[in-house]
């Protein structure tokens, strides 16, 4: 019996599959966490609403006093749960070493260039003069790869994604990604709120933008989404603190 050697794996297909898994993992984790947080917060709120309703049905002073006491208990329970959620999940990662903007961007692009090619999408990169700037080397690539992943997922074959990096004042680098296939997020996006009930916006896209906005702010940077100046889609501006080369 002859055993055939396995076919050489298609790197682009593997990277594409890895990206799909990454998106699915993020979706699963965030869905689970939102569900748990919603339950933790919703339960005391439901009790408060019920106690308020009981006050409407029974206006005897002792009944009101008891229900007020129980509402205060639930408010404290709620506040404690919220504090614990924020304290535990809001822990910041330790700072990592600085890396040049050029290295960081090239590393991120090298992961998504094959995926983009596989899907018939071109990447237009402009990093003239920014390479020597140095930025945080762990979270910034996470933001960039998440944005690239979103860009590749929402761009149609034959279209192109523009990526530029530039110096933004003496202490910041600015990355701009043009996503031609992405609609502008809802107006309440800045407050991390989901769209109004019944409104339709791709939950995966909103989630990716939320993650990036949260990470950017946590590292002292900023993320802004504006309508593309020309053509369809949006431009995402990711601003990150940078240091000049020593």
């Amino acid at each position: 019996m002859t055993v055939q050697a396995p076919e050489k794996p298609d790197l682009a297909a593997l990277l594409s599959r890895l990206d799909e898994l990454r998106v699915a993992e993020r979706r699963a984790v965030s869905a689970r966490m939102v569900s748990v947080a919603g339950h933790l917060i919703g339960t005391p709120l439901n009790v408060i609403a019920g106690r308020a309703a009981l006050m409407r049905t029974n206006s005897a002073p002792e009944a009101i006093e008891e229900n007020v006491r129980r509402i205060e208990e639930q408010v404290e329970r709620l506040a404690q749960r919220i504090r614990r959620l924020i304290d535990y999940f809001g822990l910041a990662e330790p700072p990592t070493e600085l890396r040049s903007v050029g290295d960081v961007l090239e590393e991120c692009l090298s992961l998504y260039r094959p995926v983009a090619e596989l899907r018939g999408i071109s990447l237009q990169v402009d990093t003239d003069g920014v390479e020597p700037l140095r930025i945080e080397g762990s979270v910034a690539p996470l933001v960039l790869t998440t944005l690239l992943s979103l860009a590749v997922r929402t761009t149609a074959p034959g279209q192109s994604i523009s990526i530029s990096a530039s110096e933004d004042g003496p202490k910041a680098a600015l990355f701009e990604l043009g996503l031609p296939g992405l609609q502008a997020p809802p107006t309440n996006f800045e407050r991390f709120e989901p769209p109004e009930h019944g409104a339709r916006y791709d939950v995966g896209a909103l989630e990716a933008l939320w993650v990036c906005l949260g990470l950017a702010r946590r590292m002292g940077g900023a993320l802004e989404i504006v309508k593309a100046k020309s053509g369809a889609g949006v431009t995402v501006r990711f601003r990150v603190v940078a240091a000049s080369p020593a």
């Binding site: 019920g50 309703a53 129980r70």
Partner: protein, 155 residues
């Protein structure tokens, strides 16, 4: 993208009375006007269970508490409730599974007709579908308000 209008105060007030009938064909006894009723409250959170019990009592009905599926089945057998308010998110055996089990209890217990109502924090169509498939007669989105309870109890 379709922007939906956010709910105003009037919408929220109207929502309080909203009880979603699931149109399940069953042997549930109609609840028309014979209080006091026996109401089983199945809820794992102590404060929620206690509050619901007080709300039921405030309407002159008898509340029977249960914190899990095993207790709920035992109380259904010995107290024969007219109505069971069941939290969907129970630990171990969840609310949907409990509804299925209670339907079996009703089949094997002559004369026992308990109306099963799901209490849920979810308001989407998928939840309505799974509650109906599990054998619930209706579901109410939390927080349950006196108006909704009145509607359920036929008061």
């Amino acid at each position: 993208m379709r922007e939906a209008k956010s709910p105003g105060r009037k919408d929220l007030a109207r929502d309080r009375t909203r009880v979603y009938s699931l149109g399940v064909t069953n042997q549930a006894k109609p609840l028309g006007g014979k209080p006091p009723r026996c109401v089983l409250i199945v809820e794992d959170d102590d404060d929620s269970r206690e509050m619901l019990g007080e709300l039921v009592s405030a309407f002159g009905h008898r509340a029977v508490p249960a914190s899990n599926a095993a207790e709920a089945i035992a109380r259904t057998r010995d107290q024969r409730p007219d109505l069971a308010l069941i939290d969907i998110g129970l630990p171990e055996v969840d609310g949907c599974e409990l509804a299925r089990l209670l339907r079996l209890v009703m089949v094997e217990t002559p004369g026992l007709h308990t109306r099963l109502v799901a209490l849920t924090g979810y308001s989407d169509g998928a939840m309505r579908e799974s509650a109906g498939a599990a054998g619930f007669d209706a579901y109410v989105v939390k927080p349950i308000m006196p108006e909704a309870l009145e509607a359920l109890l036929g008061a």
